[in-house]
Symmetry: C2
Subunit: 393 residues, 2 copies
């Protein structure tokens, strides 16, 4: 549940004692550790985020098929918006007129906006990489635009999220070495430019470390980005095609290299096992479109990492809920047979109910991870989650 | 709000004193009249329905894009399911295994199922009209089927709705006289067969009067159907292409011909002015797909009958809610600009939020109609609704 910043110093609660940040109204503290896993608390002007925390993705100012009031009920604490999409549709002018994204999308809890970089680099191929930024064509109408660190900062200031991201070049570990190195250099240069350009005191600016799965480049990027100096750091360039063990080794390396008292954000992980794996390596916050995207294709996510494809005929007369021990509205109310009926009949309600369940799986998982870390039982928790197996259908 | 049948005789509430019905657990009473308009109370095994009442349509066991828990919050008292669609997808066997539609769709309030006749007559053209029923091809897979009064009763008994409909031939007033007359004859014969075939004592069977907008045929059909004898009557064959004044004159005629102590159901009306018009002529219950269908095409319904097409560019920067005095979640939370953004970006949330609003408009309108009738101010209420005009865009 989101706790208002105002409430966090209220009756019975300790005052916020986290490491003070340059951004006004922000603080972060690691309150418990269990191995490398951490349980912490990020205070923002729009409320407190207990970590580890899964962040639902609200690409175009909506977590697809889910209402903001439902997000609260599911236990969501912070939502992500995509700068690229919002820049083009509806544009920052309209969002600013609403006092920013919070007012526009009806979510008064914390919001994080990405820098737009990921979409610029992944959505189209006619981009022109320049020293000062990227020239590219809009996927909406083909018009040409240039995103620079300065543009990314200005747009995110206009969007008005609580947490904003430095403009970086997301370079997958599968890139050739020289390209990966150039991306690291560019990311450092841009990070410094972002820090220089960013002026809103009520926003937390996050630096992003790149370097793929190359240890030397990761060390270099981490040194350079922490050298520029941010109050929180993101691990970029992972979950983009590299092998799983390389990814995890890189996260473990980041745990060693990043300052231990700063928030760490892993960009783009949404399967239960992967989430538990990165929490175990010191990550505090993560996001992914997986739960809502899978919901729209009729797939239910299970706590142990399994998946149920509800188009499968074997669910046609299955009178059990998606998961017997899930506390979401979908599992408390509907059978797999009903959900399969909705999915095969392309009923909107199917996407809604599966989105609620899939998000709840990850939000409950991370809530339980927080408790386990605080209780010093995280290893046991990991075993329990993994032990549920990934059986699906 | 739906009141549990159990609660209706609870502390502080008068016992149910309506006209007893043949069906067990049912009663209906007209509690107030204002001109021809009536405010009444239908008791069913799944709760009480205060009339006049708008009934959201849950075609395939879902009111499209709306969750059952939301229907309650909107003030829905009873939901309609379509026998034709449910017969084919998912089939009665799966629904029966859930204990009927209530368990299948997660709605524990009253449910009405139609007879399937409307779809059989409207969805395809290869049908073969027989004396005992209709042979037709499924829109799902082209397979041939015969619906008879006996089949319609058996299927509706399996679906397990509270209120079930006689199998009739929906004959629009635009049909040539001899065909309209044949439809009236067939509807009477089938009504008697339905009454004979229907055996579930915990379901209320409704007889349907046909006759288009022909006064002679309406009088004949009303006499014949009331002669067969039902505890509730539906006005069929209207809202299917006839002129508005003919429709209203026919409803007024039905008010004269139907027993005044029995429930009256007008099949298929969903615009605010039309609803007020039929309430003024003695109708108690009505349904329509209009509010949810319009929502899915990006159109908002207004209380005075107007409509807002949110694709219209004039809403792009409109910071006002759909209706300033609407109490729905959508109007309390979001601007027209945000809703237009969702609609133009084809976001599922757009259909959800517009469905909530459109349903609330009609459910609040009918709630207010009930109050107005009880207060003896219905004419004033009609003037107020009509006075809001139908301005939209």
């Amino acid at each position: 549940m989101v706790v208002d910043a105002g409430e966090s110093t209220g009756a019975g609660r300790p005052p916020v004692t986290g490491t003070p940040m340059a951004a006004e109204g922000f603080a972060f503290s690691v309150e418990a550790r269990d191995g490398a896993a951490r349980a912490g608390r990020l205070t923002t002007p729009h409320g407190v985020v207990e970590t580890p925390c899964f962040m639902p993705v609200g690409t175009k100012a909506t977590v697809k098929a889910v209402q903001p009031r439902e997000l609260r009920g599911l236990g969501a604490q912070i939502v992500l918006g995509n700068t690229y999409h919002l820049f083009f549709r509806p544009g920052t002018e309209i969002i600013s007129a609403h006092g920013g994204l919070h007012g526009f999308m009806g979510w008064d809890g914390p919001i994080l906006t990405d820098s737009g970089g990921f979409q610029v680099f992944s959505l189209e191929t006619t981009r022109l990489l320049r020293d000062d930024g990227v020239e590219f064509s809009s996927v909406y109408d083909g018009s040409r635009h240039v995103f620079t660190p300065e543009v990314a900062m200005r747009v995110q200031e206009d969007l008005g999220g609580d947490v904003v991201m430095a403009f970086d070049q997301c370079a997958p570990g599968t890139l050739p070495g020289p390209e990966l190195e150039a991306a690291v250099e560019r990311t450092t240069r841009w990070a410094a430019a972002c820090k220089e350009a960013h002026s809103r005191r009520d926003q937390l600016l996050v630096g992003i470390v790149q370097g793929g799965v190359d240890e030397t480049l990761r060390r270099r990027s981490a040194a350079e980005i922490t050298g520029v100096g941010f109050d929180a750091y993101a691990i970029g360039g992972l979950s983009v095609g590299e092998r799983g063990e390389e990814m995890l080794a890189t996260v473990a390396l980041m745990d060693e290299l990043l300052p231990s008292d700063r928030l760490r954000y892993f960009m783009g992980i949404g399967d239960p096992i992967g989430i538990v794996d990165v929490i175990a390596r010191g990550v505090d916050v993560f996001d992914c479109v997986l739960p809502t995207r899978m919901a729209r294709t009729g797939t239910a996510l299970l706590r142990g990492g399994g998946r149920l494809n509800l188009r499968n005929a074997r669910f046609a007369a299955d009178l059990t809920p998606l998961e017997a021990d899930c506390d979401c509205y979908t599992c408390r109310t509907f059978t797999r047979a009903y959900l399969r009926h909705l999915v095969t009949q392309k009923e909107i309600l199917g996407a809604q109910l599966l989105s609620l369940h899939n998000l709840r799986v990850l939000l409950r998982l991370t809530r339980d991870a927080r408790s386990a870390i605080r209780a010093g039982r995280f290893a046991e928790f990991v075993g329990h989650v993994a032990g549920r197996g990934s059986a699906g259908g």
